[in-house]
């Protein structure tokens, strides 16, 4: 299998107010292969979100290297990485522009990572495509193409974020607890949609989640983070043998120190 993303000894240290060093990521080595769907577990402060921030470039790393398809991209700007990496956040407000309409948001996403010119945006020409696309989600989003996204429900906004992120087939999809802020029913529907999209488009994906069932049900690989390190990295076979009880025991034991 081809390595898509390689993290080599990635370390992130931040200084507290009292000048003590706080190691958020501690020499993390991780290789993500094309087609991987990795679920990421870990308590609060384990370093999951910082790991994502390091990959997208929204936070710089203290030391270590990040390679995409073998190319060192450690010093690339976030805007440059955006052409390859898509991310959906936990907060529905994060992924969409609230004063712009659903169609306008999709149009922005359609040009992800491309050069934008001083030419008419061509919204009408894409409306039909967007309508079909939104229709496939099945929560009535297609009736709101001209609604500012700030007026949508959290579930609709998250499914729009997901559509926007997967519209241009990113090389790597990062899901940061993207169903956590939704009610159980909406959350389940979005998770099903997510899985369906990943399979259809054969995306490589990492998904942070606090729902153990989801971590077990979805994906072909599972990693557990603790204190800035990857404590456990299970492949498909190992993951298949894992039960929910195993996972709870593992999580409780590993996470004692970091538990809230």
């Amino acid at each position: 299998m081809k390595a898509l993303l390689q993290l080599e000894k990635v370390t992130k240290i931040i200084q507290n107010e009292s000048d003590t060093n706080n190691t958020i990521l501690d020499q993390v080595d991780l290789t993500i292969h094309k087609g991987d769907f990795i679920t990421v577990l870990g308590g609060n402060g384990a370093g999951k979100s910082t790991l994502f921030n390091s990959i997208t470039g929204s936070a710089s790393v203290t030391s270590g290297q990040i390679k995409l398809n073998g190319k060192n991209m450690t010093n690339w700007q976030e805007e440059k990485r955006a052409g390859f990496i898509g991310r959906v956040f936990q907060d529905p407000k994060m992924g969409t522009a609230p004063r712009m309409t659903v169609a306008e948001n999709l149009l922005l996403a359609l040009k992800r990572g491309q050069k934008r010119y001083l030419l008419p945006r061509k919204l009408k020409e894409n409306k039909e495509y967007f309508e079909k696309l939104c229709g496939s989600v099945g929560n009535g989003l297609e009736n709101h193409l001209d609604t500012p996204t700030g007026h949508l429900s959290g579930g609709q906004r998250q499914s729009l974020s997901l559509l926007m992120t997967t519209l241009t087939q990113p090389e790597l999809l990062l899901l940061d607890e993207h169903t956590a802020a939704l009610d159980p029913k909406t959350s389940k529907r979005l998770m099903t949609l997510t899985n369906q999209m990943i399979e259809e488009k054969q995306l490589t994906c990492m998904m942070i989640t606090h729902r153990m069932e989801d971590a077990l049900t979805y994906g072909n690989r599972l990693i557990l983070m603790e204190n800035g390190k990857i404590k456990l990295d299970l492949n498909q076979e190992e993951k298949a043998k894992l039960t929910l009880e195993d996972l709870f025991v593992l999580f409780e034991k590993r996470d004692m120190s970091a538990a809230v």
């Binding site: 805007e79 955006a82 522009a97 040009k111 945006r121």
Partner: protein, 293 residues
């Protein structure tokens, strides 16, 4: 007097529209305006006095204003100086630039050509009205064209949700630079036109202009809610004219024009507080709708 107030309203509306493109779209309170507006006046008047065609002089003023905006935007994006401070620094520094340009604190356009001269045959102030309308049509249609291009959409997205914009590969710093450069060009244009209408430029001509610009925008927003982008730009023109009429009313009531600024500020303050006042009084003056409790 009435026509004069309307004419002034058109010229100041250009300023209000410029403020809208940064203050509302990018959510930047850009104080450079108090420097780039009089800079526009200074450059245009100096150029005309030294024999340059008024239209060309006005274009020179726009370029000077864009330069000021560029400095503010670079301080902010590259130098990481907070945007308000960047604006204050440039605004303050421009005072010296204006003195250097004019070589004196103020300069008169007495017996000099002006951009309004082509419509000299019209009655008093109508020349300003005609030029004002022409420039407004030009400015509004260019801004609208820009907003609906791919770059314009990226610009709006930058102000709306910057982290999302970056995650889509939009160079948000470049958008901020673009916004500050263009809006300060618009401020200088407004300054150049106002100076040619007043007949002089003054290094202190910028004091309080942000209040006048904001007033036209806030009046427009209080009176007309939920409008499209294009309608918003037009309502700013209405807001600006209304503001000039309010000031005219204040003067007509016999208040001393020496203290005009406190009336400007009071008018703006009242409009800014209107949403809060409406809530308190449980009535909606303009739409007649009862606020639901």
């Amino acid at each position: 007097m009435l026509i004069s107030a309307i004419a002034q309203g058109f010229l100041w509306a250009i300023l209000g529209i410029g403020i809208f493109t940064t203050y509302r779209i990018l959510k930047f309170p850009d104080l450079t305006v108090e420097g780039s507006f009089p800079l526009g006046s200074a450059v245009a008047v100096t150029a005309i006095v030294s024999g340059i065609n008024p239209v060309l002089a006005t274009i020179l003023a726009i370029i000077a204003g864009m330069g000021a905006g560029l400095v503010t935007s670079l301080l902010y994006t590259k130098g990481k100086v907070p945007v308000i401070l960047s604006g204050i620094l440039v605004m303050s520094g421009l005072h010296s630039v204006m003195l250097f340009v004019m070589q004196r604190p103020n300069l008169s356009l007495l017996n000099q050509p002006r951009i309004y001269d082509a419509f000299n045959a019209l009655p008093n102030y109508f020349d300003v009205v005609i030029v004002g309308i022409g420039v407004l049509i030009l400015v509004i249609s260019s801004i609208l064209f820009f907003f609906y291009t791919s770059v314009g959409q990226a610009y709006i997205a930058t102000g709306d949700n910057e982290s999302m914009a970056r995650s889509l590969g939009i160079q948000t710093d470049n958008m901020k630079i673009l916004g500050l450069v263009l809006s300060n060009g618009i401020f200088a244009l407004s300054g150049a036109l106002v100076a040619q209408s007043n007949g002089y430029a003054d290094v202190n001509g910028g004091t309080g202009v942000i209040v006048i610009g904001l007033a036209s925008l806030i009046i427009a927003e209080v009176m007309f809610k939920e409008v499209t982008l294009g309608e918003r730009l037009l309502t700013i023109v209405i807001g600006s004219v209304l503001y000039q009429l309010l000031i005219l009313g204040v003067i007509r009531l016999g208040f001393d024009t020496t203290y005009i600024r406190i009336f400007s500020s009071t008018i703006l303050a009242v409009f800014l507080m209107t949403p809060q006042l409406r809530k308190g009084l449980k009535l909606d003056m303009f739409s007649g709708k009862e606020e639901s409790v």
